[in-house]
Symmetry: C2
């Protein structure tokens, strides 16, 4: 029998002397680990962070840096929008659903205003102004952006207010958030060991998690945590075997990660009987320009539209990749194309341009007449400022005229390259993970808390049902990371707190 590297727990009784000891050990220094470490230290605990990479940051540092915040932040107010926790909850419950974690969303919305202040306290600033377009990443320096709130049916379920908060920086802002967070963690006196990968949780004789075994420059190192271990190791999108087992929809697609999201924290938890939830749920992003599909249309392999193209672009991506017969295409006309603000920024070029829709059908391999009838119906209603099928906002409705162009969203921004299977333009990450209470306590498969073990960020299952919105990952990671850090700092005996097991049942 060929044995594989094991995630099976180690036992403290087998350890003569631990190499390192602390109150709270945080495993992984992305946004969730940083937030947990900072709050645990702020609560008076001795905190140590270990990180497998050569420095902190993780996938968080490589992200766009959008933060999904609301409930009436100064930035919303200065842009002329009134928001409330209830209004934010109404949107998020729908947008992250169906089957979202309403208890977590409720806390997240109620605490969002304070959480914005926390980010400001780290030294982050937000430029005033709203980018009033459709984009993954606005081409302007505005601090606020829409993330689906103004699209049907969400604009009927809640007052449409923008909640995408972007820290002031040139483009992608994840690095800046992590730079500020890392500095704050360091200033709080927290020690960080880099190039240190946790391989096994450590249990005492009562089954309590009391540390980890790690590898550091090829040698084994042991860490004892007097109060708690907080697992913030990220998701499992970089582990092809785990993807195949749990979320094969992402197999073969591009990864949104730092390359180290191998699910090891989830596996270490599973090995001691921790519960996971929603392991099949993923974020999926087709890298097509949202500004392009909003101005044109998105059709499936039958030449049919299937969604209002002005939704949060991740929702359009999921609708296509998960639910439609492929290949799917963005169809646009010259006027729409010329109108795209980010056209040159991302160097997007159509792969097909035709004078007649019949030609385009043939080039794209769509059924004869399909695109013609889809565009005819679209134009018929667009001229009346309506979209009775999908309810795209009338600001984007305009009759499409020749010449027509098409682009395959699966090809990514560099539309010149064909890519392997054409999926370089579809990327994602995993949203399932360890089952936690709202304070980050990890539950076992029976629904009981595992003493000493906490998780946050994408190593845990967050607020998500089947849906996702940009900024909720950094948002949920830091918000529930902070809660985990505070709860963990209390340490042994903490399960008598009023926000623990009972609530999570």
């Amino acid at each position: 029998m060929s044995s594989k590297p094991t995630f099976a727990p180690a036992h403290a009784s087998d350890i003569e002397a631990f190499d390192h000891e602390t109150d709270v050990l945080v495993v992984g220094f992305g946004c969730a680990g940083g937030a947990a470490a900072l709050e645990a230290a702020g609560s008076g605990a001795d905190v140590l962070v270990i990180e497998r990479a050569g420095g902190p940051g993780g996938s968080s540092a490589m992200s766009g840096g959008e933060l999904y915040l609301g409930g009436g932040t100064p930035l919303q107010q200065s842009s002329g929008y009134r928001d409330s926790p209830d209004n934010m909850f109404a949107y998020l419950k729908a947008a992250l659903g169906p089957d979202a974690d309403e208890e977590k969303i409720r806390l997240y919305c109620d605490g969002s205003r304070e959480h914005f202040d926390w980010f400001c306290g780290l030294g982050l600033t937000f430029n005033p102004g709203l980018y009033d377009g459709q984009s993954w990443m606005p081409p302007t320096q505005d601090g606020l952006m829409w993330l689906g709130e103004n699209a049907w049916p969400y604009d009927r379920l809640a007052d449409a207010v923008p909640r995408g908060h972007r820290p002031a920086t040139e483009s992608f802002g994840g690095w800046l958030i992590m730079e500020k967070l890392v500095a704050a963690v360091k200033a709080a006196g927290v020690e960080t060991h880099v190039d240190t990968v946790a391989t096994r949780l450590m249990l005492d004789d009562d089954g309590r998690v009391v540390g980890v075994v790690a590898r550091q420059y090829g040698t084994t190192v042991t860490y004892r945590a007097r109060k708690a271990v907080i697992v913030t190791t990220g998701g499992f999108v970089d582990n092809e075997e785990m993807l195949f087992e749990h979320a094969p929809v992402l197999s073969g697609h591009a990864k949104v990660s730092d390359g180290l999201d191998d699910g090891s924290g989830i596996s270490m938890g599973l090995a001691i009987g921790a519960a996971v939830r929603r392991m099949s749920v993923t974020q999926i992003a087709a890298q097509v320009l949202p500004a392009m599909i909003a101005r044109g249309m998105l059709v499936n392999g039958l030449g049919q539209r299937f969604i209002n193209e002005d939704v949060y672009p991740g929702l359009a991506s999921v609708a296509a990749v998960r639910h439609q017969p492929g290949p799917y295409w963005v169809i646009i006309d010259q006027e729409g194309y010329d109108d795209i603000p980010e056209r040159d920024l991302w160097n997007v070029r159509p792969s097909h341009v035709c004078e007649r829709l019949g030609e385009l059908e043939e080039e794209l391999g769509l059924p004869e007449g399909s695109l013609e009838s889809t565009v005819a119906a679209y134009n018929h209603w667009a001229e009346r400022g309506e979209d009775p099928q999908f309810h795209k906002n009338k600001r984007w409705l305009r009759s499409l005229k020749a010449p027509f162009a098409a682009i395959d969203p699966r090809k990514g921004f560099d539309s010149g390259s064909e890519g392997g299977g054409g999926t370089t333009g579809v990327a994602g990450f995993t949203l399932g993970g360890l089952r936690t209470t709202v304070d980050g306590r990890v539950l076992d498969v029976s629904g009981n808390e595992i003493p000493g073990l906490y998780a946050a960020g994408r190593a845990s299952a967050g607020m998500f049902g089947q849906g996702y919105i940009s900024g909720t990952s950094l948002g949920d990671g830091t918000f529930f990371g902070r809660r985990a850090g505070r709860a963990a700092a209390v340490g042994i005996g903490n399960t008598t707190s009023d926000s623990g097991a009972q609530d999570a049942g």
Copy 2:
């Protein structure tokens, strides 16, 4: 902290004397447990089966009794069809995919001819004759039925041969299969303890599974298994919490089960670090008559067709429930309705009948003109014997004429009752479970075998990717149940066999 009933393992070293002892302990007496017990006994092991219900049978006994078999069975041959393991593999790989377990499917197809003989050896007989229609359950006594093999695109991927084998009985045949299997198990000298529910696995000091703790008439009973424990406790469709955590698509729908598929075997495994896979995958069946949709059309909430209506009806159900905006409707005309062989058998009555499609659109709340254009396009091509969009077989293509009728598949056969949320007509069960090798050995989260632990049937993840075909559940349960029984009978040291860990890696 309020503690829940725990699935955490017990330890043999804490047990002074076991109440019962055997070589191979089988937990659960459905088709997988019966098959495992029979083969383990046939391999010379002392075998004991415990079953939580008052008698054997489980969900298997309540099923339709279809067995998915092929590769050239006598029944296929006498009906004039030539099949081969390769041809069967080509179909199943596609129909159970994407991302099906090809290793298991390969073995299943290669062994299918022998597996048919095994069923005959139990005393089951199969009437000659093919029911050449579309049905969940043919209204005739023919022993053979189609299960999607003759529908596009499967008819292009493999030679279309029917493989649904039905034991000779009046209607649902699951009880008969279990009656014969139970008799054979008893004749093999296997003892069965009913009203006995396993609550925890038992480990020795090396982490080997050596028995279970059970409850029997309110008292705790311990079982020692000298060689192996085989978990065949079924899926988790009856556990609303597990459904919400892993497969919320079935939450609130009807269950296809005996009411006891609570996932306890999966949870007992998880509690000792076993791996699960594909916990989100489910079978979904809209109870609409397949003979009705084949003769008419299935449309979504936008009045669009989305699949060739002559596919295996579970595939049409999944396409609707998982992927289409609801509500979905079956549309049919008078001639088609009159032509349904099972119309009176199931007492199906349309909920809406209209002379004009415009009226029907209004009654069903479909977009204006949507049904008219869908039917017009359908009729245009049907008159030419073609379906360029979805490739329905021309035997079912016919221009639809007034009057038109509609029925909501979510309402079930009793279309008079509205039901709670109208989902009484959608039913399903879970396909995810413990990760096993082809010999039923349960793997832990590191990918290593858990000594002494086996699983089969719906407590394990079977051959399935995202797809399902009737008869593969009884088929996979008995086929891999038999393999698990044989492997388990070998007992301690069995991991040196040539079909174990290495293959499963």
